[in-house]
């Protein structure tokens, strides 16, 4: 799965390299046209592309599989009689999902930067605020963005973990988790439901541009963290409530 994620920036970079007419500029999504000027942008661009679907998809697979997958292979009952406490099992499963979120975003980011280095010129990076930072500083900013997105995915991971405790069919849990993330994004697009938007775990997903200002604007980072922790707390509690008393019949 990480390989598939790494393929995203590679595809983007290669496609742009091949179609680059040398004039610079042009259409396409935000950041896309700037890749040709600076290879370091490939990582950020790839993350923007991966956020709506690819990252939630992989996180949904991992989180949805966490408990239901063990139930499906029949290993859940053996883990529980080993004995592994049910709370401990949930905590470990969530930690594993969180580690995967980080690994997934870092994979996209690092693969993007590497392919950018290989195919495009690299130099000091112009930020959204107009300032310019060195290559080293920009790598640090890339890491921050990866952390920001990882944080943003934790809420989804918690939802996936909860759904995973509801069923013994891992595929169902995975699909449901991915659907939840898509529905949240669709709802986020409907202006009629604007009152709901700040409560969606997807609300801050694309707000990492604040990390590309000078000085760094931390408010969105903080808001994202609070929102995601709230999701983790609520769905963690739901998962515990469901799993602690569940009859394991798989």
């Amino acid at each position: 799965m990480l390989l598939a994620l790494a393929a995203v920036p590679v595809l983007i970079a290669v496609a742009i390299r091949l179609t680059d007419d040398g004039q610079g500029g042009g259409g396409g999504p935000a950041f896309l046209d700037r890749i040709t000027q600076n290879g370091l942008f490939v990582g950020v661009t790839a993350l923007v592309v991966a956020i709506p679907l690819f990252l939630p998809l992989t996180v949904g697979v991992v989180a949805g599989d966490s408990v239901a997958g063990e139930a499906g292979t029949g290993t859940l009952r053996y883990l529980l009689v080993s004995p592994v406490g049910r709370i401990r099992l949930l905590v470990v499963k969530f930690a594993a999902a969180a580690v995967f979120c980080l690994a997934a975003t870092l994979t996209v980011s690092v693969a993007g930067i590497l392919i950018g280095l290989a195919l495009f010129p690299v130099g000091p990076v112009a930020l959204v605020s107009g300032d310019t930072v060195s290559v080293g500083e920009s790598l640090l900013r890339s890491l921050l963005i990866a952390l920001y997105i990882t944080l943003g995915l934790l809420g989804l991971a918690a939802i996936g973990l909860f759904i995973s405790t509801l069923t013994d069919a891992p595929v169902g849990a995975m699909a449901a988790t991915v659907v939840v993330s898509i529905v949240a994004q669709v709802v986020g697009q409907l202006s009629q439901l604007e009152w709901l938007h700040p409560w969606l775990f997807t609300y801050h997903w694309l707000d990492f541009a604040d990390l590309l200002r000078q000085p760094i604007e931390w408010s969105s980072f903080g808001a994202n963290a609070v929102l995601q922790l709230a999701y983790v707390a609520v769905f963690g509690a739901l998962a515990y409530g469901r799993f602690a008393t569940k009859d394991i019949l798989s």
Binding site: T73, G74, Y78, V81, P83, V84, G85, D247, I248
Partner: protein, 376 residues
């Protein structure tokens, strides 16, 4: 979590209780039992799967848990191990209330529950390592040796490096048993341990269970295969439709099932034989199924005896007739040889004669009803 004191307590050959545990001293009544349930009940919605059972598994016994499919055996085992909660009733395992003391009791319990469950993409050895490291009480330093020992005990050493995906059902079953043996246990629960095993594997499992029992481990085996339970268990409980219909030491149970010996006579002279048997006080023998005469080579040896006997004239045509199996219950007061002598004296051509103690199967069928219908 490798507290040396706790480790020492668990490997204590006397099977002493964890000294760190602040448990009230077990009463003398429950001390003798590895598993004790009181009115244990499990309902799913409106159906009652386990209906108020009182299991008593003595320490050190090999306890056979018998019942047809769907009689609630596995559900009971899940409740014993804290996987499912009881709707009513109490469970005590190794003298401790369950499921309140799960974390203290389960390290001393090894289990194979409703077939093995392993990660197909890992090797057998890697699966055992993973499950053992999940057990917070198992020492990591001895893991390697314990895994190899467990694999060796179930005869999987040579296949341990293969991915579980490539295992046959029987090999997976063996791996499941190996998992139950990873650390020294006080109680081992095996749910249908011989499922999918070849005859040789079945025999190995029997030997294994006997060796575990010899070490003092209590073994709780569920099965629907009576012959197996009969061969290796010291105690039996029989389930039917969620209820416990019999429980006790195997010998007591056998005695309670049928006090009489079962007599079987194969003869072509059924009417004469019935008369003779009735006269001897063997209860009127019901007519069994007909069997074709299966040993024609035996007949010349039988004939002279018949010819010399003073009895009713025998129609030579009957010689080719089929034998009829007669069954009856033989009272303890009538020696078997008297019956044979009387039959022969009356000119009955005895082609087969057997006296059997009632098998557990008779008892089982008596208790659970015959046929393949799963009792609802």
């Amino acid at each position: 979590m490798t507290d040396p004191a706790a480790q020492a307590a668990r490997t204590d050959p006397a099977g002493g209780a964890d000294p760190a545990a602040a448990q009230p001293a077990p009463t003398s009544d429950s001390a003798a039992f590895a598993i004790r349930t009181t009115d244990l009940t499990k309902r799913f919605g409106r159906s009652t799967v386990v209906d108020g059972i009182d299991l008593a598994v003595p320490r050190g016994s090999v306890f056979g848990f018998l019942g047809p499919n769907g009689s609630g055996k596995t559900t009971t085992i899940r409740m014993l191990l804290g996987l499912a909660s009881a709707s009513a009733g109490e469970v005590r395992v190794l003298e401790r209330e369950m499921p309140a003391n799960l974390a203290r009791v389960l390290p001393a319990v090894g289990a194979l529950i409703e077939g093995p469950g392993f990660y197909p993409f890992l090797s057998g050895r890697a699966n055992l390592h993973r499950l053992d490291s999940a057990d917070g009480f198992a020492s990591a330093s001895t893991r390697q040796a314990r895994v190899e020992r467990a694999l060796e005990r179930v005869g999987l050493s040579s296949a341990a490096g293969k991915k579980v995906r490539a295992y046959s059902l029987g090999m997976k079953q063996r791996l499941g048993i190996a998992n139950a043996l990873l650390t020294p246990r006080e109680l081992i629960v095996l749910d249908e341990p011989t499922n999918g095993l070849d005859p040789q594997g079945t025999r190995e499992v029997r030997t294994l269970i006997r060796s575990l029992a010899a070490e003092g481990t209590t073994v709780f085996v569920s099965s629907h295969l009576l012959s197996e339970i009969e061969q290796m268990c010291s105690h039996v409980a029989v389930m039917r439709a969620g209820r416990l219909v019999a429980q006790g030491a195997l010998d007591d149970l056998r005695g309670a099932g049928r006090t009489h010996l079962r007599l079987t006579v194969a003869t072509p002279d059924a009417p004469t034989a019935v008369a003779t048997l009735s006269r001897l006080g063997v209860p009127p023998a019901p007519l069994g199924e007909s069997h074709p005469a299966s040993h024609p080579a035996d007949r010349p040896a039988v004939r002279p005896a018949n010819d010399s006997a003073i009895g009713p004239a025998i129609d030579p045509a009957a010689d080719a007739a089929e034998s009829t199996a007669l069954e009856g219950e033989l009272p303890e007061t009538v020696p078997a040889e008297t019956v044979v002598a009387a039959l022969v004296a009356d000119g009955v051509r005895v082609r087969g004669f057997a006296v059997e103690r009632a098998s557990l199967e008779d008892l089982f069928v008596e208790l659970t009803g015959e046929g393949f219908d799963v009792v609802q």
